[in-house]
Amino acid sequence: MSPPEVHLVCGTRPQAVRLAPVAVAMREAGLVTPVVVAGGRYPAMVGQAFAAFGLAPDVTLRVERGAGSRAELRTEMIRRLDALWTERPPAAALVQGDTTTSLAGALAACWRRIPVVHLEAGLRSDDLGSSFPEEADRRLITQVAALHLTPTPHAAMNLLDEDVATGDVLITGNTVVDAALAIARRRPPFENPEIAAARAAATGRRLIVVAVHRRESWGAPLDRVLAAVRRLVERYADLDVILPAHPNPAVRAQVHAGLGGVDRVTITGPLPYPDLSRLLSESYLVLTDSADIQQEAPSFGVPALVPRETTELLVEQASALLDSRVRRDAMTAGGNPYGDGLAARRAAQAVAALLGLADHPDPMPALGSHAAAYGAF
């Protein structure tokens, strides 16, 4: 008899990156059967993200592009998941984060009284107004989840503050760290030809990856970053810069206007996840407003600077790290507070424990404790 199925519900590429290590860990442990359910508006893109990990969705729930609003997407996803789970009820459903698909998965499972596991649980902006509906959705998922897997101790504390039972919360670390480490360990060849050429030509030069994508960074903040990057390239002859630009045409035009044609600067479109992970692992420094990259980079011993200040300050801070390897290394010497590369294994064991198939795993050790084992990569 095969182990009970656990359905991993996925609607976006970032979710696929976080769920893939969990599916792999479940498969390796052999206590449950992971079933990847890809839904949402772009299941093909989700499939591509899983492919980087040697996985493919087991079930694809196509939602027509006409389902434009969040409400329509949520309604349709609940309907399709309910139909799937009528025929093929899993022992548990695992959802990640706070997307419309996450809430749909959690509610559809709750509707059928299927235990819900929430991965990357406990994140709070503490501002229900400005981040509605994401904050409301993640809070509602908390209410229906039987097991809360948190990326950090702080996220776990958020849940305990909301009266979630201690025994239902496990600090696993963030599986995005596992994903980045897994990809970088394989060192796959670059898919993007511009990146491949730039890296082949960069003999001995240090690499800065610049990834500034958030909407609030567009306009003047992005101009400040571009000006800082130009000055750093002028100041340091041993520096290469790779800048994957946001696909928005106006942003791309702004980036090209600021750095187009500058020697040792490569501007690309959005990169496949394996390319980005490998680039991070080879970087000296990262300038980014991406929460994902901020969490992944420290696993490679790469500091991430978040460009929120003036051009001058950004140049000053980056220069300090470029001038002193010791100072640069010190930034990540304490390890990665977002994960130790073992989050997916803990998640897989915790789900098995929920189903009575394994002992409860230990939480991710706190940084600085004797049990912390940074360097799984």
Partner: protein, 121 residues
């Protein structure tokens, strides 16, 4: 619109419009009712709580309804002066009335934006 969809839409409209007697009529006398609030619940407690929410809220909106046979899943946004509470409700209908209700509130937001609601008896 299916019979289930019509019935749950009428039930939702009844309590949102603070029509307690209509909401009561929609709920079967022996209905099974659950929620994730600490207080015990029966049909009268449910109707009273929904009435207080509707009375205090600036607006209550059904943001999605999913029907499957005699079952329906609804998501509401209850907008109060200082913020919005999201609530999910799972309903089963039988014989023209609601025979089963399960409500899941964002309890943290409910305490924050509907002060006193959970303290009243």
């Amino acid at each position: 619109m299916s019979g289930t969809a019509e019935l749950v839409a009428f039930y939702a409209r009844s309590w949102i419009n603070r029509d307690r007697s209509a909401a009561r009529r929609m709920i079967a006398p022996d209905a099974e009712i659950e929620w994730n609030l600490d207080a015990a619940v029966d049909d009268e407690e449910l109707v009273q709580t929904l009435h207080r929410i509707a009375a205090f809220a600036d607006s209550v909106t059904v943001v999605s309804t999913t029907c499957a046979g005699d079952r329906a899943a609804l998501v509401y946004d209850c907008a109060a002066p200082f913020g919005t509470v999201r609530m999910a409700e799972f309903v089963t209908v039988a014989g023209g009335t609601v025979s089963e209700i399960r409500q899941v509130y964002d309890v943290v937001a409910l305490r924050r934006y509907f002060p006193g609601l959970l303290d009243e008896d």
